[in-house]
């Protein structure tokens, strides 16, 4: 990792919501240029907050970065409005897909293209690329986005981000609520986009299995800080990681028994 140039460097950040609730407590991570890094952790660990800090949209929820620094492509993110960051190649695909439901698929892309170019790309450029990765979106281009299936909406959310020709994509739980087959489809395409377009990705997931299959490095966070990080091999070999994040695949035994142990181990591990 250290030899590579990092497109994203997050150092010791702390985030506070409403001036009262501290959610991140000295979190650090790096994403190498063109690489895929997984950020894992259970619900409420602060994964989404981390991404919002990077794309500078915390202010929307009255959140503040109170300490630490974030550098995208070598330059600090602080003070740069989100639309400047997007134009510089940083795209955030938010949790829950967040497509513009009243707009058609194509209008979603039009808005994204307009935004990413600052309004001067002539219009419609880059749509072929999106439709090439997601032929389904081409078939559904006249449909209202609110009526798409969950998988199609996720495709649209990623396609929209792709229009900005990003150098770094922040993907927040792309597998959320999708069937296993769809998850596999989407992750295959994510891998292709990374390979063919050279887009680096910070991939937030609760589904650690699929995320670590793609990533070259992973961080696991709990309560606002990283508790363990390393290559997928290292993480998958770790007993705690296997038990808490990779589901029954690693640890055997009856579910109910495991849950009792789970709670105790978890407490020890976090303290």
């Amino acid at each position: 990792m250290t030899a590579d140039r990092h497109i994203l460097e997050v150092s010791n950040i702390e985030v506070v919501y409403n001036h009262t609730v501290q959610v991140l407590r000295g979190l650090s991570l790096q994403v190498p240029e063109g690489g895929i890094v997984a950020l894992l952790g259970s619900n409420g660990a602060g994964k989404s907050t981390t991404l919002k800090a990077v794309s500078n949209v915390l202010f929307l929820e009255n959140g503040d970065l109170t300490a630490g620094a974030i550098r995208f492509d070598g330059a600090p993110v602080a003070g740069r409005p989100p639309h400047h960051l997007v134009r510089d190649g940083l795209c955030h695909v938010m949790e829950g897909r967040r497509v513009f439901e009243d707009l058609t698929v194509e209008e979603n892309l039009i808005a994204a293209g307009y935004a990413a170019s600052g309004g001067d790309d002539g219009g419609g450029s880059g749509f072929e690329l999106v439709y090439e990765y997601f032929p389904r979106l081409f078939e559904r281009r006249r449909a209202q986005a609110g009526y798409l299936s969950g998988g199609e909406q996720q495709m649209l959310a990623i396609g929209r981000a792709l229009l900005g020709r990003p150098r770094l994509m922040l993907l927040d739980e792309p597998s959320l609520g999708l069937s296993p087959v769809l998850v596999e489809d989407i992750f295959t395409i994510i891998a292709r986009i990374n390979r063919e377009q050279g887009v680096a990705m910070l991939l937030v997931e609760q589904n650690a299995n699929v995320a670590l299959a793609l990533a070259s490095y992973g961080y696991i966070m709990e309560s606002g800080r990283v508790v363990i990080d390393g290559t997928p091999d290292k993480l998958m070999a770790d007993d705690d990681v296997r038990e808490f994040y990779l589901g029954a695949a690693g640890a055997g035994g009856a579910r109910s028994y495991r849950e009792v142990k789970h709670y105790k181990r978890r407490k020890r591990w976090l303290s």
């Binding site: 929307l60 808005a111 307009y114």
Partner: protein, 292 residues
């Protein structure tokens, strides 16, 4: 029953409804993009009428130029109001923002009275005066032309929102502001755009309304009926504003002629009451919108 007369009264009502619809669209535009309930919309309309008087009569410019300048002035007013009075309140309680727009409406009335005095004024003659007949029915030419112009302007705007990419970005922002930020839409610029366009529409409505019934510093009360229109139609629905505008214009006109002027408001507010009881989010509005 005299059907021809009813028809004529209805046409007159549609004429008034066209202006409600036009101003209602301006209101909805601001609401959709910035979630501000702008009670100063009637006063923005009034400023448009007075700007037209200022350019057309005061400075004696050609009327077409006076119209364009008044429209641009209305747009500028919208832009400035948003930047100076509304933007600093971003994220504050919607009620405070709402109160600020009430304050703004008083400020605008004050400014107009300082510059043009409180006396009613008539506007330079703008609309053709040849009588119009639809079949056997007579329509006052000013009413007819103001309806035609309002309808044309609304049509242009609907096309703009559908096909112009900036219009699509505006609708995107209205649909999900957080996602709009994350995708790189310059959201503050969209706010400015929405207020400027709404200011332009309101100024246009003000010129038309002034052309029909003259301008006065109290013509902003027109905005109250517009408020009824958008609540009935749904605060966030352009279609709702259009249909409710025409409906309420028609009801007012019919009630006013058959029952007497004092019944106009009674009917309007009865409609409002019924809608609030049965469908508080409006005929075409989105359901989860908070009500004041």
């Amino acid at each position: 029953m005299d059907w021809l007369f009813l028809f004529e009264v209805s046409l007159a009502g549609l004429g008034r409804g066209g202006l409600y619809a036009l101003t209602g669209v301006a209101f909805v535009l601001i609401y959709k993009a910035t979630r501000v309930i702008n009670l100063a919309i009637g006063e923005m309309l009034m400023v448009g009428a007075y700007l037209f008087i200022g350019f057309g009569a005061g400075m004696a410019l050609p009327l077409w130029l006076a119209v364009i300048l008044a429209l641009l002035g209305g747009a500028l007013l919208g832009f400035v109001l948003e930047r100076t009075a509304i933007r600093p309140l971003l994220g504050e309680n919607p009620i405070s923002v709402f109160m600020v727009t009430i304050g703004l409406s008083s400020v605008l009335v004050g400014l107009v009275e300082i510059i043009w005095t409180a006396n009613p004024r008539s506007l330079p003659d703008l609309l053709p005066r040849d009588p119009i007949f639809i079949g056997d029915a007579f329509v006052a030419p000013k009413t007819f032309w103001s309806f035609v112009i309002a309808a044309g302007v609304i049509a242009v705007f609907l096309l703009l929102f559908r096909f112009w990419r900036g219009g699509v970005a505006l609708r995107a922002t209205a649909s999900d502001q957080g996602a709009a930020y994350a995708m790189g839409i310059n959201v503050p610029a969209v706010y400015s755009l929405a207020w400027a366009l709404a200011g332009l529409l309101a100024a246009g409505a003000g010129i038309l309304l002034g052309a029909i019934s003259g301008a006065s510093s109290s013509m902003g009360v027109f905005g109250l009926t517009v408020l009824v229109v958008v609540i009935v139609g749904g605060l966030d629905s352009v279609l709702g504003a259009l249909l409710a505008g025409v409906l309420i214009g028609w009801v007012e006109s019919v009630a006013g002629v058959y029952l007497g002027g004092e019944y106009e408001q009674l009917f309007t507010f009865s409609i409002l009451l019924v809608v609030l009881l049965v469908r508080p989010w409006g005929l075409f509005g989105t359901r989860e919108i908070e009500r004041l």
